[in-house]
């Protein structure tokens, strides 16, 4: 392709865009998109409030569900096992429903998803009032409420990651500390049961859940400037994430700019037409002069494969719906230029008609992004998460039973558990704050906590007295709280906040599968060996296993960098042959 031809095509596309622009101006006026840096505060604290409320109510319901157990048994007369299935369905669907929740987030937006989730939860509670057999409860309490929880969880996680970058760990830890208040919900539920019987208690709890609708409305959509998401992966130096963000952002601004085009497509809740983010203005200066800036070329080229994905997404078709920023007419240009490897006509074809039907099937394929399963970072994180969540429930389950076998009476045993709960909450807050100081990469902290958890659990069979058991519980709670607060920040670090939606969906799904097996496995071990020590050994081993995958993170980084370089090389050859710029005869034969 000769440069002149290319230019005329460009011009035609630009003119076409202008025409479309005029018609859609009105629409833009109402839906002005402002691109801001993650506020790390301000309205973000409202999001944290919502997060806190969700944790209080959701985890409170899950934990105090056992209180309804007796009431349900009296009313419906089922066996203990059939009634406990309600609780299991509820808690497992909260995790397994995450992929569906991530689809909902991508299509409807986090705010709408959270509100829908809250409506589902309270609706499920209200419906259960009219239950007349256990199966009805399976559906109304189990399925509906479980799905609602999943939607709520996905919503607030994604939004928190958007609103906070530097202080993500702190914000997430504050939100999660709501779980510490769940101990207050149990006596309250008991009080409701005594006063109003289970139907009345359900009614009032359903009303309380409606509060989540109000707090869900606080999740204002925010369009975040694409960050240097690949920074942790590409910087070989173990700098603190904040510092590395700043330094590499200078180098990789053009890369990230176009990355933003690509990945922000997957960002939460950005629905089709009007919310497509335009790259920030400085970007265009870069993409404008690729010929002149030879130093930027390698980076631009490395972007190509991602940009081709972008075109596949039919994103170009959305160009016309851009708001009027100087970048708008430029985007099709840049994509056309840089996508030398793509068939030029196809690209223009895409950009010339904003036909949604043609793009929708391709769009759907990206909403549930299965290619994420091949992402090494995602695999590392999910492996670690599955084992750590599997191991998390076991000690709590068996701690009180073990205390009883050691001769400690029930009141003291429950005291140990409440002390552990409070310690965990405080440890979460402390860990979040410490991590945000950014002395090391977050996943180092995560690794350390997991290993310490594992060691504490392996040593726990040595605890034979009340004091030792209390010591074990306190230490375990500290390390547990430590790693819990980092779950979201580590995921954001590994995968990037743009892909957070999808990766959270999938990883929660796998965690759900793992959680189903955890407590029964421990119970089976107890039946087999008649001692609770084995379950603690199992928990310790699981924690150590989960930390193993995090050691592979540097390997994964190197693998990723190598792959990117290889892709860049192949793209470079294609790009050269398209003749967008004066072909360099020296390089033609290379690669």
């Amino acid at each position: 392709m000769l440069p002149k031809e290319h230019n005329s095509e460009t011009k035609a596309a630009v003119m076409g865009l202008f025409r479309r622009d005029a018609t859609t101006t009105k629409k833009e006026k109402e839906k002005e998109i402002q691109y801001v840096d993650p506020p790390d505060g301000g309205w973000g604290w409202m999001v944290v409030l919502h997060c806190f409320l969700v944790n209080v109510l959701v985890m409170g319901t899950l934990k105090s569900f056992g209180i309804f157990f007796v009431a349900f048994q009296d009313e419906f007369g089922g066996s203990a096992e059939s009634i406990s299935w309600i609780g299991s369905i509820m808690s497992s669907l909260r995790l397994s429903g995450a992929p569906l929740a991530s689809v909902a987030c991508a299509k409807l937006g986090t705010r709408v998803t959270s509100i829908v989730g809250a409506v589902l939860v309270s609706g499920g509670f209200l419906m259960s009032i009219f239950a007349n057999n256990v199966v009805f409860l399976y559906i109304s309490m189990g399925v509906i409420v479980g799905m609602g929880f999943a939607l709520l969880y996905q919503g607030f996680s994604v939004v928190t990651a958007l609103y906070f970058r530097k202080r993500l760990a702190t914000a997430y830890a504050i939100g999660r500390s709501g779980m510490g208040l769940t101990f207050a919900l149990a006596p309250f539920t008991q009080l409701l049961l005594d006063q109003y019987a289970w139907q009345g208690a359900m009614l009032i709890l359903g009303g309380l859940m409606l509060n989540l609708v109000a707090s869900g409305m606080l999740l204002r959509p925010i369009y975040v400037k694409p960050s240097t998401t690949s920074t942790p992966t590409s910087s070989p130096v173990q700098k603190s994430p904040a510092a590395s963000l700043k330094s590499s952002s200078d180098k990789e601004y053009p890369k990230s700019c176009v990355n933003g085009n690509n990945s922000s497509h997957l960002t939460n809740g950005i629905s089709k037409s009007d919310s497509f983010p335009s790259p920030p203005p400085p970007c265009h200066w870069d993409t404008e002069n690729p010929a002149g800036q030879s130093t930027q070329d390698p980076q631009d080229r490395s972007v190509n494969p991602e940009l081709t994905k972008l075109v596949l997404n039919g994103v170009n078709g959305h160009e016309p719906h851009h708001d009027l920023s100087p970048g708008k007419p430029r985007s099709p240009d840049s994509s056309i230029e840089l996508n030398g490897s793509m068939n030029g006509s196809t690209i223009v074809g895409f950009s010339s008609h904003a036909s949604t039907p043609g793009e929708v099937p391709v769009r759907k394929a990206k909403v549930l992004d299965f290619s994420l399963l091949k992402d090494p970072f995602f695999c590392i994180y999910t492996w670690s998460l599955v084992f750590s969540q599997l191991a998390y429930f076991i000690p709590y389950f068996h701690l009180s039973a073990r205390a009883r076998t050691l001769g400690i009476d029930a009141m003291d045993a429950s005291f140990i558990i409440s002390v552990a709960g409070i310690t965990e909450t405080i440890a979460q807050l402390a860990s979040g704050w410490v991590t945000d100081r950014n002395l090391f990469h977050k996943y180092h902290y995560h690794k350390a906590y997991l290993i310490l958890c594992g060691l504490v659990n392996l040593l726990s069979p040595l605890a034979n007295s009340y004091i030792l058991l209390m010591v074990y519980a306190v230490f375990f709670a500290i390390f547990c709280g430590g790693y819990m607060a980092l779950l979201l920040p580590v995921l954001v670090d590994l995968v990037g906040s743009e892909k957070l939606n999808n990766s959270m969906g999938f990883s929660m799904f796998f965690v759900g599968l793992g959680c189903l097996t955890g407590p029964p496995l421990a119970g089976f071990l107890y039946d087999y060996t008649q001692t609770y020590d084995c379950s603690f050994y199992l928990a310790g081993i699981c924690y150590l296993l989960s930390s193993v995958s995090l050691f592979m993170e540097p390997l994964a980084q190197r693998w990723q960098a190598r792959r990117k370089r290889a892709q860049a090389k192949t793209a470079e050859s294609g790009w050269k042959t398209n003749g967008c710029f004066t072909p360099d005869p020296v390089h033609k034969g290379a690669v």
Partner: protein
Amino acid sequence: MECTWTGNQNKLPNITGYWKKDGNEIDSRLTVPLENEQYNLKGVFDIVGEESLGNYSCVFGSEAKIEFVLAAPQMGEVRDKPIVSYAGDSVVIACKMEEPKPKPSTWHWYKANGTDKALIDAAAEPHRYQIHSEGGKSTLTVRNLTQADAGFYYCGAVYLISTSLGRLEVRVITFLEPLKPFIAIVVEVLVLVAVILLYERKSKKKSITGSQKTKKEKRENSGGEESSSVRQRKV
């Protein structure tokens, strides 16, 4: 029943011993000899009915007293908090006799009527009452509850010698009762939602008027930049 006492410092060779029931002397006083450093007092009593139950004590002289309590097996744990149910709904109340204790021959249920207890006859009103008794457990199901059904119920475990009673309270409420706090919460939620919507609308108006100005500026700028970029490409 047999009492054994090892005596005190003055080991008297003989001491008077007698039995008491509920504080009243029964039988005549006996002279108890000291045998093997012990005083033994044995009493044989026929348990014929409820009158035979009570507190028995054997007394040695004026110095030692040992108490026995003769009673039917006590009822197992029953709910001390009222059982709440809704008008028109049914309620199940249960009584249980603890495991190691002997099982009663039958169970009876009573409804408190002032100070009296009225026996509930399930056979007479099968659509309202249903009694299901099985060894040491018994449940009473009351259907179609009305306010009149509220109050105290007694379950009686019948033994040959007597009947053990347990007391339960049933409260009947209408649906309106929990509805009131529910509506209060819903109103609170609606208020919050309205406040948030108003706040959003206000801040949106501000941002729209603000951004419209910046948009116009951008448009002017972009027009100029547009042509410059095209020009560059031609190069």
